[in-house]
């Protein structure tokens, strides 16, 4: 069970992705330029298989809802393991 989040960090976002989205790989970046309120996150998870882009994004929004509400801005890119592999090959 994850503890309630009071402040958002790359670690807290990664943890939520792991536990709630079955993520196999997470890359989080703080692009806030200091104020710690703007994150960019790449998530790889088999749970994204067969989902449309919108569905994947909604899943992530739902899983990270509490944390997204605390930050100023949030960007996400979601991949299935196969998509991620293909990307690495390029």
């Amino acid at each position: 069970m994850s503890t309630p989040v009071t402040s958002v960090t790359i670690e807290s976002l990664t943890e939520a992705c792991n536990t709630k989205l079955g993520a196999t790989h997470v890359e989080g970046k703080d692009i806030s330029g200091g104020c710690g309120q703007n994150f960019e996150i790449k998530i790889v998870s088999p749970m994204f298989e067969g989902k449309s882009t919108l569905q994947k994004h909604r899943m992530v929004n739902e899983a990270l809802k509490d944390q997204i509400a605390l930050v100023h801005a949030f960007s996400q890119k979601s991949f299935t393991p196969a998509q991620w592999e293909a990307l690495q090959q390029q």
């Binding site: 882009t53 994004h57 909604r58 929004n61 100023h72 960007s75």
Partner: protein, 272 residues
């Protein structure tokens, strides 16, 4: 951007005493900000936007640390802080970067219509959405349904196409323009009721939001992905150039009449 007469940026202490007249019944909205606090940047834009829409209130922007005396007088402990003053007394305060709260407070003292929507469009003309008083959930739902389908591509953004107020809205507009897609837009900074209601309506917490043919497509990230895979272009064919459109239209039927309005609702005596 054209200078707004009810909006002042303080350069010296004298500027403040020149603008601020406690003896009149004018309401003053003071924005205490600092360049080192990123939330202030967004709020400054919101503040300016509100100034352009509420001409009976005088908006004054004060860089807090440059004017310690004024800041102390209004007991500014943190930025951004917004203080509303009337007849020499502080009547309201909004602390922190809270656009809806600020809009609401401004609306309290404003004599202009509670909310107004402006639509910016690249080419097509869409009737502008009329200002609406507070309405029931049902009415709001009906209004949003109408709004989201009012154009083939309808985007809900912060600001307008010519003056976007957020990097994400700006990026979305750039993508649409690059893809040569005709769209209409709604400025959610100008109407807080719609802004809040849209989050529930779309079940999406942020803006910008994109609707195609009345269906929610997603936010900026989703649109970026859809554009990369070509899905977006399939959803929304790009605008044909004017000559092609004219050719197609002229040849559409054996007899084509170009009128003002529609056969059911002609908009001019001659067309009728």
């Amino acid at each position: 951007m054209a200078a707004i007469s009810n909006y002042t940026v303080i350069g010296t202490d004298d500027d403040f005493s020149a603008v601020y007249q406690p003896t009149t019944s004018t309401v003053y909205a003071l924005n205490f900000w600092a360049a080192w606090a990123p939330p202030c940047v967004q709020m400054n834009d919101v503040f300016e936007e509100l100034a352009s829409k509420n001409s009976n209130i005088k908006f004054i922007k004060i860089e807090a640390e440059k004017f310690p005396d004024i800041s102390e007088e209004y007991e500014i402990a943190a930025v951004p802080s917004f203080v509303f003053v009337k007849e020499g007394k502080v009547v309201d305060r909004v602390e922190g970067a809270n656009p809806p709260e600020l809009s609401k407070t401004v609306a309290k003292y404003s004599k202009s219509p509670a909310s107004s929507a402006t639509n910016g469009t690249t080419a097509a003309s869409t009737p502008s959405v009329a200002a609406a008083p507070t309405m029931s959930a049902e009415e709001m739902n009906a209004r949003l349904k109408e709004l989201t389908s009012s154009s083939s591509v309808m985007v809900f953004i912060k600001g307008t196409p010519t003056a976007p107020r957020c990097q994400f809205s700006r990026q979305l507009l750039e993508i649409l323009t690059a893809q040569n897609i005709r769209f209409s837009s709604f400025n959610i900074l100008a109407d807080d009721e719609v802004r809040q209601a849209m989050k529930t309506f779309s079940d999406w917490p942020t803006f910008p939001q994109v609707y195609v043919k009345g269906e929610f497509v997603g936010g900026l990230d989703v649109v970026k992905e859809l554009v990369a895979t070509g899905e977006f272009q399939a959803l929304v064919p790009a605008e044909k150039d004017l000559k092609t459109r004219m050719d197609e239209l002229i040849h559409k039927a054996p007899v084509m009449i170009f009128i003002k309005g529609s056969p059911e609702t002609p908009r001019c005596g001659f067309s009728k």
